[in-house]
Subunit: 439 residues, 2 copies
Amino acid sequence: MASRDGFSWTEEDGLKPGVPCIGAIQPPSNLTSAHDVTYDVIVAGAGYCGLTAARDAAVAGLKVLLLEGRDRIGGRSWSSNIGGYPFEMGGTWVFWGQPNVWREIMRYQMQDELEVSYDFSRGINEYHISNGRTTQRFTHDEEDKIVESGLRKLVNVDGAYGKNVIPFSHTGKFSSEAIKLDSMSVADRLAEIQDSLTPNERLAVESFVLLCSGGTLETTSFFEFLHWWALCAYSYEGCIDYLVKYKFRGGQSSFAIRFFQEALATGNLTYAFNSPIATVRNTTAGVEVTTRQAERFKARRMISAIPLNVLNNVTFDPPLPQGKQAAASIGHVNQCVKVHAEVRDRDLRSYTGISYPHNGLFYALGDGETPSGNTHIVAFGGQHNHFEPDEDIEATKKALQGLTPMNIERIVFHNWSKDEFAKGAWLVMNSSYLIQHLR
Amino acid sequence: MASRDGFSWTEEDGLKPGVPCIGAIQPPSNLTSAHDVTYDVIVAGAGYCGLTAARDAAVAGLKVLLLEGRDRIGGRSWSSNIGGYPFEMGGTWVFWGQPNVWREIMRYQMQDELEVSYDFSRGINEYHISNGRTTQRFTHDEEDKIVESGLRKLVNVDGAYGKNVIPFSHTGKFSSEAIKLDSMSVADRLAEIQDSLTPNERLAVESFVLLCSGGTLETTSFFEFLHWWALCAYSYEGCIDYLVKYKFRGGQSSFAIRFFQEALATGNLTYAFNSPIATVRNTTAGVEVTTRQAERFKARRMISAIPLNVLNNVTFDPPLPQGKQAAASIGHVNQCVKVHAEVRDRDLRSYTGISYPHNGLFYALGDGETPSGNTHIVAFGGQHNHFEPDEDIEATKKALQGLTPMNIERIVFHNWSKDEFAKGAWLVMNSSYLIQHLR
């Protein structure tokens, strides 16, 4: 199975669109010709949100129609298995401290299908800080000290490393003090503490924030970052555990497929891939959804799992409330560029490093070993020095080499910014967005 | 509404069995006279486990019969609201790092109904260590240092505070190194590190372990404690967050009732309280369950949510496999004695303390303020110096006074050891139990 999504490059094949994907569903639809069915619910979007909604509704005995614009499930979290090795095109890491995620992992008894991304047991075992002029090399213990020290200065707005400002990390109700921080960008906060950061702490902290946000320091809400910190148990160690440590041995698509299969097994799921929604019309009887191919479906209700940045691509009749429209029109800031390289340099398995602020890809780590014994490097860029990795593959290679010299055999990526069904990566809010648009 | 369970004492009323409970269901059954129904599933037990099973099955469209021996839902987690103030008779604290619990809290949108148990903002603000001869007084910062330092010595079997031995805290697959620790008791482990503990660290650590286990140092598996530590994010701060910090403003029964109400609203739930199960018989058609009142029910399947320590009270035909019978017959070790005192001493709101090893109740903390402005103290004992708090209320008062002097107006408790439907508190395993019985 393959998806239209994603790109791969090798010396032999050059740059090619489309990559293998176990989440590409065949046949792409199980619609029958009986088009005058009224479903209980239409679910728009087959990312994890839509898959969960569709599955729960199907399990509860409702007749569900799942509509998806792509040819695959998973939305912004999907993996391409190449030669049996999964490259994570988007969302990757999971952790048992994420209650909604973990509950699903337990549901499918996949708790023993996780592995640790990094492996510091062999190879160069170094953390590099390249600032465009020099490259400094550190041990990973030194890396921990630099990043932790910098982050603690960044988040310590209350003498309690954020715990007083956000005492309940999972609530949607925020104190006035928290709301104030939402009108600050991370750049504003950095200006406040600039005298207390060492140059290396500053590079490490800025690139860490950008790794989380995919935006710029100016567009990322400081509250948003502090909220991440709170959700990561208010510690650097928590950030590692929650954000970049544990991934599925079989890739995200090995997880997403379980939701789809469970829903399908109920006999209550009708689905159609390659079916982007054009219009959604409220009627007295319920809802009428029309795809770009002018297929029309009726249901009592619709659940939208359409990403924020593309919500305004759908025409709603009557229109969405102005607040929702405005929120979607501003959108979120995350334009993460994520590029995988399969490299011959086995010693890079234990490499981590930043190349910032000059390089297009500012952070990378050794993320695995491929079946042929090569090292898999995953590298990140964002709105800062943004580039389109599919437009100039030589520039993409240069951005990889700008992290650390490597002998590249393969490149794999998904260009999320040009993706018409996402227009960006995971949701990260702009400053003041929470105040203005959460309600 | 009131339950038969629990006891309360006041000077005026003396000791009385039965306390108010919003989880006591009226009417106690919605069975109709049509007794030849075959249910899709019978769920045995209306604790959280049984409630979740019954709700999920009912939501999925199955015809469910929920049978419960008690007159209330909640099993070993229930609250008695006295004058609007909830006393937690058993399980109390929840945390967003507990994925299964938190997912349910989010399901019912109760994430903003939590409060912090302790309040160190006023009153004596002290931690007491009483060893039977002297009482030392410390600040809560000093308390943290003593307990943390002691616990870190206890768990540091691998130079990584347990992280190497239990790298995945939520797995059911354990390394051979972990399994080895299961044949050790906590007493064995304490013997290994005895020279490194200060006398106060030793008192603090032993009482902390007993607070978790409700057993004795000899009966508590060291692996079991290390597993708790791992599940508490491998830190003392995590132990506080996960174990004794956040509770429901309205009490556990305000949570449990949501499960029951959701199941009932499906129209698929039949239930009968006061209906202890006597026998479970497998038939060719499914299962036949008979209660002690000789009422007989049929279903395609049964889900047992019967606690381990009372599983052998039910006769299975054919009998349970020998391994399961043996496991149930050994049971778990937790004979926690939990006693609430409403006291006139407002300054004790910020009290925490241990009175160990001589006292029947070895740990207590200020857990809330009652509507009349009194302080609510919750105190714990266990198999160590075990006593039955209902048998001699003067001895119970003495055990409370043995923690710190207090002017007691009310006492509330549930005697879990004498409870025929539990025979103990939450599950805590004996040494070697995991090795011998997990499978």
